[in-house]
Every structure is written in structure tokens, then in C-alpha cells.
């Protein structure tokens, strides 16, 4: 059995599955249930300053989009940070850490962008026995209007400044949670790194309106006929998160900075992908909110099963293995030539590949009167669209032309020597070609 234990910036947990700071981690009751179900760690719902807590709306907080069969694909929320008094949260955190010493307990914090506010809260958090803190620079709704959350995360200088304060005023590891609502994730990551952050975690939610009610013309979720943008999360955001994680993992300035991966982790496979892109652990929220805390059992058994099959004894054995394979477009091998191949035994003759190719691509699939679909190699640019729209898995595959054969589309002989855009004669910057 694979060893799933992780040591993330000195914080140990029995498995890499943490619950993200969110509604599921707002109270001792929930967190206790989570740990009993097997979660490795919890980032407590974001704490605010002492004094009267924030208030939430009293109408719906969530909007959603669904696939067929009402599979929840994306969730949007307008809930704010914890609306319970700071001292209650701190007391409960202390109890939890005492009862579950082997699990990771992280405090998420969001206070005004003033040194005194951060200096004041940190000793209280430290007193709970929490293993670390996560700076919430991510929430895009509500708190950002008050100069917190994503409003900080969108200004790299603020990130660096607050991170530095936290490193100065606490011995706890500092994880900086980043907002994806920014054009280039590397800038805030670099700022966190420069401020001395022990790690970054990403992504927080994406600003979104899930839908519009076409009877009363209110965005959803609707509060008395009006709506406000919320934070989007769930399976739909995973590709965005993976890219941002990869950007940080391969950036010259931030390479090696520990990353806690967040964004649509729903199954063991999602978690393994984040880990392969360098994450030391993952944080989950929507999957737990959709299916309950028990969902972690599948994540644990699946990841363990995968690692056993691959012969990985621990997480570190495959962490970051995909990072060197993330590159810029200009370095992709243009001599890698493939063609679509349709397995006629598997084909159910729906014609979706034909429609996709004929109408929207390169007219590279032929259709006979008796509905036999074939690839026309002279036209096939290997775009992969037919593979993606085919309802039968592995019915259409992309197969590489071996070196020495002639690509009927270009008339060129396929070379086994890799060559990319930087060396291509059409590239105006390619001086070597002249």
C-alpha cells in the first residue's frame, strides 16, 4: 500500500486531501465530521478581525450549472468569510487540534490591509495550536469591495507587504491563497515569494454569474430580484486551475515554491494531476459540498491504487513529474505528424465526427451512402476534434505517421528529428533559416 502521508512546508497530514477554507470548515461540528470521515487536513473558514462579525445575505448564496442528469459541474457562491465571532472560532479550532493532533489545521485569515490588524490577530491564531495560516487574498465577492480578499490579491505589492508582515509576526508557516481573477498569475505568485511566503495555494474562485432568470431578468442566485457576481468553483474550473499551477511551477522566479492545489478536485485523478504539476497537496470544497465528506474515501483508495500500480511508494515519487512537460507553444515538435483513425468495428455510425469535420473543420472525413466514415489523410490536419466529439471512447484515435512516410496532406516526408517554430522558415524571428 502506497504511503499517502505528506509534509507540506512542515505541516504533516496523513493524506494530501485537505478541505479548503469554505462553508464546510466553518464550525467544529463540520470539521469533526470531516476528520472522522478521513480528511487529512482542514483550512478553517476565513477568520476576520475581532468585533462584530460580517453578515451574510438571507437569500440564496449559491448558483449552479449542471450537466445532463443534473450532475453539478460548477458552483458559484456569494457567501462571505465566517459570520461567527472570532473567539468562538478560535476556541473551536483549539478543541479540534487537541482532538485530532495528527491532522493538519490551517487558519485562513482576512483582515484589513493594515499592519496593526494582522499583528493583532496572529497571536490569537497561534494560540489555537494551528499548524499554519493561509492568507485569503482570493475571494472575489463582497469582501473585495471593502479592500480585502481579491482586492489585495490583484495588487502584487500588497501581497508582498502583507506576507512580509505575517512572516514577521508569526512563527507559523504562511500560505498565500491567490485569486485567479488576474491576467497573469505569475505576478502575484512572485510577490508572495518575495514577501517570504512558505507556499501559495490556488485557485480561489472565479468571478461569475451562473445564469440569468429570463422571467424576471435577475442574475442567479437572485436576492430580491438582484444578483451580484459570485465566486465560481467545482469541476468546471479545474483546467483553469491546472494551468495557473503549472505557470507557477515552471516560472524561473517561483520554481520550487510549494503549492497547495485547489480548483475542481473531485476524484483521485484530479488530485493526482495537481500533484503531477507540482502540488504538495490539494484542497477540496465543491466535491464535499456535492457528495458529503465520505467522498474522500474514493480519493484515498483511488490515489493509493494508482500509486501502487505505478510503483510509487510516496507522493514525492511522482510530484512534479509533469512540470518539465509543460512548455510554450513555440517549442512543440512540428515534426510530430498524426492522422485520425476510425475503428470501423467500434463505430456506431452516429456521424458526429463527420458533422464536426465537414462543417467546422477541414472536410477530412468521408461519409458513404451506407454511413461508413473514413478519414481523408490528404485533408486531415490531426486537430483531434473528431476524437473529442465521438461518443465511443477509443473508437477514433490519433496515430503517428512513422518517420520516412509521406504526409499526403503536405507532401512532405515525415522526419524523426524534432523541429519547432523557433526553427521554422516561416518564423520571421528565425534568423538561422535565412
Amino acid at each position: 500500500m502506497a504511503d499517502l502521508r505528506t509534509d507540506f512546508v512542515g505541516i504533516k497530514s496523513p493524506n494530501p486531501f485537505w478541505l479548503a477554507s469554505a462553508p464546510p470548515t466553518d464550525k467544529e461540528y463540520n470539521v469533526r465530521r470531516a476528520f472522522e470521515a478521513g480528511w487529512g487536513g482542514v483550512v478553517w473558514k476565513t477568520l476576520g478581525s475581532e468585533g462584530p462579525p460580517v453578515v451574510n445575505v438571507n437569500g440564496p448564496r449559491y448558483g449552479a450549472i449542471w450537466g445532463a442528469d443534473r450532475r453539478l459541474l460548477g458552483l458559484n457562491n456569494i457567501e462571505l468569510i465566517t459570520d461567527r465571532p472570532l473567539e468562538v472560532n478560535l476556541r473551536e479550532m483549539k478543541t479540534i487540534k487537541r482532538d485530532f493532533p495528527d491532522r493538519a489545521l490551517i487558519a485562513s485569515i482576512m483582515v484589513p490591509c493594515e499592519e496593526e490588524a494582522w499583528r493583532a490577530i496572529l497571536p490569537h491564531v497561534e494560540d489555537t495550536g494551528a499548524d499554519g495560516i493561509e492568507l485569503n487574498f482570493g475571494c472575489p465577492h463582497g469582501m473585495s469591495e471593502r479592500g480585502m480578499g481579491a482586492a489585495v490579491g490583484q495588487v502584487p505589492e500588497y501581497i508582498e507587504m502583507v506576507t512580509r508582515w505575517c512572516k514577521q509576526y508569526t512563527r507559523m508557516p504562511v500560505i498565500v491563497k491567490l485569486t485567479p481573477n488576474i491576467t497573469d498569475i505569475r505576478y502575484p505568485a512572485r510577490a508572495a515569494h518575495a514577501g517570504g511566503a512558505d507556499a501559495v495555494s490556488l485557485i480561489n474562485t472565479i468571478s461569475s454569474i451562473t445564469s440569468v432568470n429570463l422571467d424576471d431578468f435577475s442574475p442567479e442566485p437572485s436576492i430580491d430580484g438582484k444578483g451580484s457576481h459570485g465566486g465560481y468553483c467545482g469541476p468546471a474550473v479545474k483546467p483553469i486551475a491546472l494551468n495557473m499551477v503549472a505557470e507557477i511551477a515552471r516560472d524561473a522566479e517561483t520554481r520550487g515554491l510549494p503549492i497547495s492545489g485547489i480548483g475542481g478536485v473531485t476524484t483521485w485523478r484530479d488530485a493526482a494531476e495537481f500533484i503531477a504539476l507540482g502540488c504538495g497537496n490539494v484542497q477540496v470544497c465543491t466535491a464535499a459540498m456535492t457528495y458529503g465528506f465520505k467522498i474522500v474515501q474514493e480519493m484515498i483508495s483511488g490515489l493509493s491504487n494508482y500509486m501502487d500500480q505505478k510503483g510509487y511508494a510516496g507522493i514525492e515519487d511522482f510530484r512534479g513529474r509533469a512540470v518539465p512537460n509543460v512548455t510554450d507553444w513555440q517549442y512543440l515538435n512540428l515534426n510530430y505528424v498524426t492522422k485520425a483513425r476510425i475503428n470501423q468495428d467500434d463505430c456506431i455510425k452516429c456521424g458526429r465526427c463527420y458533422a464536426a469535420c465537414e462543417d467546422t473543420s477541414h472536410q477530412a472525413i468521408s461519409m458513404s451512402e451506407d454511413r461508413v466514415f473514413d478519414v481523408i489523410d490528404e485533408e486531415c490536419v490531426a486537430c483531434n476534434l473528431c476524437v473529442n466529439v465521438c461518443p465511443v471512447e477509443n473508437c477514433i484515435t490519433m496515430e503517428r505517421l512513422p518517420a520516412g512516410t509521406v504526409d499526403p496532406r503536405t507532401g512532405r516526408t515525415v522526419s524523426d528529428t524534432p523541429s519547432n517554430w523557433t526553427e521554422h522558415p516561416n518564423n520571421p524571428s528565425n534568423v538561422a533559416a535565412e
Binding site: D69, R71, T267, K294, I295, S301, G302
Partner: protein, 445 residues
């Protein structure tokens, strides 16, 4: 030469070998990977799921289905086997439409439950096909337990005891292990010698010895077992059958349905198994259905199952009754046999109509007669030996996890009181008795 379906008497080879092979093929073919993914996708991962509650072995069904959905059928199989080591057979023979699938919330919502049984088979077949055994034994305890009967209860008990580090000797009355899995289930439900393959796979845990042709009361006594072993588990099933108790029930052509089902299962060549032209099956349970359908599939011209009560009282599930009807078997309700006709050999059965009254079933004056050159009786089975134990309604009386009237003897499965007479119930009882035996033997250890 092929005998015609219209030839009277009990004849082999009424159908050609190809038709027979087709008739006795897998009644519900396995799901392929894509079908399994689509089927698994329908599970809602319910909280405190009703399907788990409905499963006698408490398999965590939503978890194993999600493990299939996420591409880890091996993990799914382990989830199943942790609760039910005969999960492979149960996936084939469980009346899921009365258990997990009846409880499925999608059954209530759409009348179309998640195909739990077929998904279970997909997972267990995937792991078993590779021959992997997912469990290992604990450190040896030095204790040895006798398990009597290598049926579902005995096998489940033996496996769990072996896992706990005990040594186990299974005594079985028959030449092959498996009990009803091997001798008592329709051939089309468990093709390709699955029952034996499953026993071989189960035995890979180690520490279990099998003694064949060793029957309680015939070859061994309970006293000898008690003195020779640290504990005894009885999973001996119901080896006897009820007789009709009618005039003429000794005529040739009349036999217990269980014998016919066993003969058919043990036949290497289906063309050698004889069957009547006009077959009458008396009874209303799974055994009656299995005998009736298989008679039809062997080439009987007409097969009638006659049950003395109404449709809803039949212990065979609605699914099984439909299966019989689809195969051309007629089911008559509310009729009971009154006389067997024939000169030495059976040639007809006379029935009276029944009516349920407060005094029990009453028979009508009016009778009708069905031609029959073969009659199968499936009106219940009985304990073959009581071994001196306290009985209750004809079964070994047990309390808790299979505790009998003797402190070192446990019992489970069909031979013991409690639970339905189902494979899956027998597995649960065998497993739970093993846990109790383990706890008892290790007390103070």
C-alpha cells in the same frame, strides 16, 4: 440423433447442441467498460444510502460504484469483498430487484434503479480475472476451527476465520465445494464453472483445508468435531426435501427439483440431460423457477409451474417470474395437486383449486388435470440432520451471531433460523459468526 420436442417420455437431446449452448449461455452478459462507466454515472452517491441498508452484507455500494466511475475497479472490488467475499456469485444470483436495486432512489424516482448487481459483477470480475487475492492473513493464532459445509455460509465463515489467523478445516458432504452455488443454481446464472473458480480464488487466502465427502451424521459426528477443534461452525444447508405426501408420489418421473438442478449443473454435456415432454413443477420459489425454466431450455414442449397460493405469495421474485414467462413457462396460481396419475410411470397430475380462508387453504371440489411425463417437486427443503441441537421451526435455533444451544458450536445460512434463505444472507451469517468465534476464542488472549 435429436429427439423431437413432441416425443413423449423423459428424453435427452430434445434440442441440438448449438441451441442448447445458446439457451444456457450467460443470462445477463457482463457489462463492458463503457457500459459500466455509463451505469456507474447514474449513482447519486446517496448519504446513508438505502441500498446499503437493503444489502444483507452491508456492502458500501455508493463507494464501490464511485470507484468504478473513477476508473479503479480493483478498489471497487476490494470494497465489495471486504463485506462479502462471495461478491462475485452474489452479483450473479442476488435478487437485486428485491434488495439493493429496489431500495435505489432512482427506482423510486424513475422506476429504473442503478444496475448495482451488474456493476458489482464488473468490479469483482475485473479483479478475479487477474487471479489477485486482495487479503492477507493475520499472525497465526494456533486455533483450528471446523466448518461443516462448503456452501456460501461455510466459505464466508472459513475465509473470515482464516483472515484472522485461524486454521480452518471445511468438511463437505459432496464431492465438490460450493454448496448451492455449485449444485443448486440455474446453469445460465453462473456460466464457465464460476462457482469452482470462485472457491479456488477464495482459498488463496491460505489456512483452509477442504475435506470432501465428509457429511455430518454420516461420516463425522458433532461430538467428535467438538473435541477435535476449538470451535465448530455448521453451514450445512437444508439437505432434505419435503415430499408431496400424496397417493402415487412414488411413481417414476416424479423427483425433487433440487436433484434435477444439480444433475444439470454437473452435466458435462447438456445433450445427455433428459427432460420430459410435458413438465409440471410444483412450488413457488426460486427452485421451482430454476427447474421450470431449465426444463423449457432443455426442450420440454410445455412446462407449467403450479403454486398453491397467489402470485404475490410466491417467494420467487417478480423478476424471476417474468424471466420464466419470457422463456415460455406457464405459471398457474391457486392450485394444489390432489392426485398423481399413471401406471407406474407418471402421466398426469390432478389439481384442485385453492382458496385462502381463516382455516387455511381449502380445496375445491372441481379438479383439472395436466398431462405430465415429468414432475418436479419444489415445496421446500428440510434439515438433513439436527445433530442433537435445539431446533426452532425445523431449523437450528440461533441467537446473536449464529450461537447455537452449544457454547462451542455456531450455525448460519439456510440451516439456521433468522434471515431469508438467500446466498447473500448466508454469506453475512457466516461472516458474522466468524467474527463472533474469533472474539470468543481470543477473549483474554
Amino acid at each position: 440423433m435429436t429427439a423431437s420436442q413432441h416425443q413423449s417420455g423423459i428424453q435427452p437431446a430434445r434440442l441440438d447442441p448449438d441451441t442448447l449452448a445458446q439457451n444456457f449461455d450467460d443470462v445477463q452478459p457482463p457489462l463492458d467498460g463503457h457500459e459500466a462507466a455509463v451505469a456507474a454515472d447514474r449513482c447519486y452517491f446517496c448519504h446513508d444510502a438505502p441500498c446499503i441498508t437493503a444489502c444483507p452484507t452491508d456492502i458500501d455500494i455508493p463507494l464501490f460504484i464511485r470507484q468504478i466511475a473513477t476508473g479503479t475497479p480493483d478498489a471497487a472490488a476490494r470494497t465489495i469483498f471486504e463485506q462479502n467475499i462471495l461478491g462475485g456469485m452474489c452479483a450473479r444470483v442476488c435478487p437485486t430487484e428485491q434488495l439493493c436495486e429496489e431500495a435505489c432512489v432512482r427506482e423510486a424516482a424513475e422506476g429504473k434503479p442503478v444496475e448495482i448487481g451488474r456493476l458489482q459483477r464488473f468490479a469483482t470480475d475485473t479483479l478475479m480475472a487477474r487471479g489477485d487475492h486482495p487479503f492477507t492473513r493475520a499472525e497465526p493464532t494456533g486455533k483450528t476451527i471446523a466448518v461443516i459445509g462448503a456452501g456460501p455460509a461455510g466459505l464466508a465463515c472459513a475465509h473470515r476465520l482464516a483472515m484472522h489467523g485461524h486454521d480452518v478445516v471445511i468438511h463437505d458432504a459432496r464431492p465438490k465445494p460450493g454448496g448451492l452455488n455449485e449444485y443448486g443454481i440455474a446453469a445460465y446464472k453462473t456460466v464457465a464453472n464460476f462457482a469452482q473458480a470462485e472457491v479456488d480464488w477464495l482459498m488463496k487466502i491460505g489456512g483452509i483445508t477442504l475435506e470432501h465427502n465428509s457429511a455430518l451424521g454420516r461420516d463425522i459426528t458433532l461430538e467428535a468435531l467438538q473435541s477435535g477443534y476449538d470451535a465448530v461452525f455448521l453451514g450445512i444447508g437444508l439437505g432434505g426435501v419435503n415430499a408431496l405426501g400424496l397417493e402415487g408420489d412414488d411413481k417414476s418421473g416424479v423427483r425433487p427439483a433440487t436433484d434435477f438442478i444439480a444433475e444439470l449443473r454437473q452435466a458435462d454435456d447438456l445433450t445427455t440431460v433428459p427432460v420430459g415432454r410435458h413438465v409440471v413443477v410444483i412450488g413457488g420459489g426460486m427452485t421451482a423457477i430454476d427447474a421450470g425454466v431449465q426444463s423449457k431450455l432443455l426442450g420440454a414442449q410445455d412446462v407449467t409451474i403450479v403454486y398453491r397460493r397467489g402470485k404475490s405469495a410466491m417467494s420467487a421474485s417478480g423478476h424471476e417470474q417474468d424471466h420464466a414467462a419470457q422463456n415460455g413457462v406457464r405459471i398457474l396460481h391457486n392450485a394444489a395437486p390432489v392426485k398423481l396419475h399413471g401406471n407406474g410411470k407418471i402421466d398426469a397430475v390432478e389439481f384442485a383449486y385453492t382458496e385462502a380462508t381463516e382455516q387455511g387453504l381449502t380445496l375445491s371440489e372441481e379438479t383439472f388435470t395436466l398431462p405430465a411425463d415429468q414432475v418436479f417437486t419444489a415445496i421446500g427443503q428440510t434439515l438433513a440432520t439436527d445433530a442433537g441441537l435445539t431446533l426452532e421451526r425445523g431449523k437450528i435455533a440461533v441467537t446473536g451471531a449464529g450461537r447455537t444451544s452449544l457454547s462451542d458450536v455456531w450455525a448460519g445460512g439456510d440451516c439456521a433460523t433468522g434471515g431469508d434463505d438467500l446466498t447473500v444472507t448466508a454469506v453475512a451469517e457466516g461472516r458474522d459468526a466468524a467474527e463472533d468465534i474469533h472474539a470468543t476464542l481470543m477473549k483474554g488472549a
